[in-house]
């Protein structure tokens, strides 16, 4: 994967940051081995809990910084579900909020130097996406019974077009967990790898100032991307939830 050194000490190992390693010592990774993924997953959960539980502990009328962050996140997700999934989607607010806080903190903690980005692994995002997909499908069938299949049989379209639309709808339905997980992981992998590649160019004295400026610029962009991708993940969950609650187009 990593490119060979091309003379002048210029070495690129942009993908090395995504290697799963055991935390203590070296050796094989088994399912019970504490790895860097375990560590950063735990830190992600702790950071989310710290902001949401400890931050709002004061319950001040004029909130401090942590409390206003927690309130803004709550308000954002609450409004998102209400606008997109409708009032009856608010029953699923706790799950969507958890999802948003987990993804946003995993993305942001991954940006710390020497950190490990858990959301850059399709295994992690795949589980999140499959949980959303299976949950939403179950909700759809429980709430609507066989009417849920109206999602694929578009009654507002002319009869002749419906079979073709059904095929397209079925494909686009089953590609959801794939696109949801690959989008998040792909964005994280690409962004972090680009930063590493620019950092590699800093070894050449002639272009070092440009490379360092580029790293700063990319880093700022990645902070934005980290938030936007968490937002997109959550908003698509809301869209899927809307389809499950109100399947008729």
């Amino acid at each position: 994967m990593a490119t060979e050194a091309t003379g002048g000490g210029l070495e690129f190992h942009p993908m090395d940051q995504f290697i799963v390693k055991p935390l203590f010592g070296a050796g094989d990774v088994h399912w019970y081995t504490p790895t860097n993924v375990t560590l950063w997953l735990a830190l992600t959960a702790l950071a989310a809990i710290a902001v949401l539980v400890l931050g709002t502990r004061g319950r001040a009328i004029v909130p401090n910084r942590a409390q206003s962050m927690a309130e803004m996140a709550y308000g954002l997700v609450h409004k998102m579900i209400e606008d997109i999934s409708g009032k009856d989607g608010l029953r699923y607010f706790p799950y969507v909020m958890t999802l948003f806080m987990f993804v946003v903190f995993a993305n942001l903690l991954g940006l710390l130097p020497l950190a490990f980005t858990v959301t850059s692994h399709i295994a992690v995002t795949g589980v999140l996406a499959m949980a959303v997909f299976l949950g939403v499908t179950a909700i759809g069938f429980i709430k609507n019974g066989s009417k849920f299949l109206d999602l694929f049989w578009v009654r507002s379209a002319p009869l002749a077009v419906r079979p073709i639309l059904a095929v397209i709808e079925v494909i686009s339905y089953f590609v959801r967990p794939l696109s949801l997980s690959i989008r998040l992981a792909g964005n994280m992998i690409a962004g972090h790898a680009v930063i590493k590649v620019f950092a590699g160019f800093a070894a050449i004295a002639a272009v070092a100032p440009v490379a360092i400026l580029a790293v700063v610029g990319m880093y700022a962009f990645e902070v934005l991307v980290a938030f936007v991708q968490a937002y997109v993940f959550t908003i698509l969950t809301c869209v899927y939830l809307k389809d499950a609650l109100h399947p008729s187009h």
Binding site: D83, S179, I182, R183, N187, A190, V232, I235, L236, V239
Partner: protein, 78 residues
């Protein structure tokens, strides 16, 4: 220079998937540009449509990311 012709084809194929990135860029730019054009005509309606903007961007971007997936499959699965 040595190596087999299959590897060459594989790497050319992986490089060609970068076209997917360019076309996804066209799609995302189209979404954002049209949103801005609409938002400047009617700024009061713009705030309510940011969610739609992000959904549209996400869908346009997803197909570009599938080209990344094809690249990964070519590199590691074929």
């Amino acid at each position: 220079m040595e190596g087999n012709i299959g590897d060459l084809g594989q790497y050319i194929g992986v490089g060609l998937t970068a076209f997917g990135m360019g076309f996804a860029a066209l799609g995302v730019g189209n979404v954002a540009g049209n949103f801005l054009a609409g938002a400047l005509r009617n700024p009061s309606a713009a705030a309510g449509q940011t969610a739609t903007l992000f959904i549209g961007m996400a869908f346009a971007e997803a197909l570009g990311i599938f080209s990344f997936l094809v690249a990964l499959l070519l590199m590691f699965a074929v």
